[in-house]
Amino acid sequence: MNNAPDLSRSDNQLLAALPRETLALFGQDLKQVSLSPGIVCYEAGDLIDRVYFPISGMISLIVPGRDGEIVETGIVGREGAAGLHSGLGERRSYNRAIIQIPGQFAVISATHFGRAASNSAPLRDLIVRYVESRWAEAQQIAACNALHSGTARLCRWLLQAADCTGSDHVPLTQEYLADMLGVRRTTVTLLAQTLQERGAMRYTRGRITLRDRNMLEAGACDCYEAIKRENHSFRIGIDV
């Protein structure tokens, strides 16, 4: 019996999908913490030392380019976890992972998580399935960046970020959106103005509020639905 918050009923969908016996393997090693934006989970190449399960915040995955340019290549919210594959053995982070939207996160050391995974075939299966689903998502995003307009991709990212945090208030700056979309900040300003004028969202002082999800979903490319479907079918496939 421990006094930690009941993480089996947390808003993190991976934790919520785990059987009780599997969650019990974590015991008190899985803790809920509050994390602020800018905290670095891992730099590219770092040994993964902790696994992060977002509950209300969001982690941004970054690949740095030349001259200090960065591109956001993915986000991790309550649908998943960062560093999950460290459960299969010592792993290094491919990219930089930072806290982008502050909130609550369930965190466990990679050592403890690996120990639990070594004792649980269902947990190892979950890890592999999760990695497969992120690989599918990465392929979809690569195709999306090649095929779809800035407007469509902005709609998709806004919907994904809102799904990640479970809120229509998305505290992301236009600078961050520019990095997410790989475009100039001016382009984001112009696209955001367009969406605002259409009533799809409101943007003030670093805080975006989704106002018309239906419109955003109509404006997003098919990739949004494809990624959501992939996420959903991965969770359905978890052995309970």
Partner: protein
């Protein structure tokens, strides 16, 4: 570094409310071309405007129009 504003104009206007600091007019021109390409890239989605009938108007801090360019020169339009 001076501020430049990259507005879009058709029957309506989409205003660059934030502006960007750039070194000089040549840099502003390069920036304008870059933004125009990014805006018009594959712009066939439901919420995309038909940018081919829009112009980009580049202003300085005082509101003077420095140059403009037709977005029809970029992308594939609708």
């Amino acid at each position: 570094m001076p501020m430049y504003y990259f507005h879009l104009s058709n029957d309506e206007k989409v205003l660059d409310v934030d502006g960007t600091n750039l070194a000089d007019l040549a840099a502003a021109r390069t920036h304008a071309f870059g933004v125009a390409r990014e805006l018009t890239f594959k712009s066939e989605g439901l919420l995309d405007h038909d940018w081919s009938v829009w112009r980009m108007l580049v202003h300085d801090d005082g509101g003077t129009e420095l140059f403009s360019l037709p977005l029809s020169d970029f992308g594939t339009g609708k």
